[in-house]
């Protein structure tokens, strides 16, 4: 017989709303703010790349794409880290 399923508030397996542990809220909000800021940078990079493309500047467009890709990879890495992090209330 397998172990009974946990049924406690904040269990990450149940999708219940949870809060960061005390003292970590600021850190979490900082991370979210940085993520949104980096997305804004990506949006700016897209407009920059479009302008460079129309100017025929291939190298500049490629650099903009690489920087945008790095931001995306950073987000993916963050998702991976969070997926392995078990939240405990």
């Amino acid at each position: 017989m397998s172990a009974p399923l946990r049924n406690v508030p904040g269990d990450p397996q149940r999708g219940m709303p949870q809060n960061p542990s005390p003292g970590q809220t600021g850190l979490v909000l900082l991370g979210i703010s940085m993520g949104i800021l980096l997305m804004s940078v990506q949006l700016w990079l897209l407009t920059l790349a479009f302008n460079l493309y129309l100017s025929g500047n291939r190298r500049g467009t490629l650099i903009a794409a690489i920087v945008s890709g790095c931001v995306f990879l950073g987000g993916l890495a963050m998702l991976g880290v969070l997926r392995r992090t078990r939240r405990i209330r």
Binding site: G15, L45, Y53, A64, G75
Partner: protein, 173 residues
């Protein structure tokens, strides 16, 4: 709970499992968690990256030069400091030929890079002017001197043979 039921539950997503075990609606169901927000943000970030990447690929895969060899005007018909308007590469594409010195000719697309108004030669102030939004371009380089245009004017390469000026191709500014 039987093993079969437990296996059935484990095959569902977390939210599905939660709703199967606790089949009641509550206000928190409508909330977006921070992790969900992060996941959505990462997907949006991926879409932005993909768009930028497509532009980079297009930049390397598509040749953005336009036009083919075409006669414009006899060099002797354009005085120094004077201008000749013509169409290139298509019949509806305005272009400007400038004779800067005795031996130096330059040609640009006559379409402003801001909102595609027609650009003309302001002889009094020796500059290329877009009257729509006061965009000013440098006559020697086609670069933006003032106003809202984001890019230089596309340049038209020239060649001369037997006193006749030819447009070779148009390249982005």
């Amino acid at each position: 709970m039987t093993d079969h039921e437990r296996q059935s539950l484990s095959n569902r997503t977390r939210d599905d499992r939660w709703h199967a075990e606790f089949p009641f609606e509550w206000d928190a169901d409508e909330l977006v968690s921070r992790r969900q927000l992060l996941r959505l943000s990462v997907w949006a970030s991926g879409a932005l990256f993909a768009s930028t990447g497509v532009l980079a690929l297009l930049g390397y895969s598509r040749d953005r030069t336009r036009g083919s060899l075409r006669a414009i005007v006899k060099a002797s018909d354009v005085a120094v400091g004077d201008v000749h308007y013509f169409s290139y590469p298509g019949p509806d594409d305005h272009a400007i030929l400038l004779r800067l010195t005795q031996d130096r000719f330059v040609a640009y697309s006559g379409t402003c890079t801001h909102l595609s108004c027609a650009v003309y030669w302001d002889a009094a102030q020796r500059r290329l002017l877009c009257p729509c939004h006061k965009g000013v371009f440098h006559p020697e380089t086609g670069g933006v001197l003032a106003g809202p245009p984001p890019r230089p004017l596309p340049r038209i390469e020239l060649s001369e043979a037997n006193g006749m000026l030819y447009a070779v191709q148009e390249t982005p500014g």
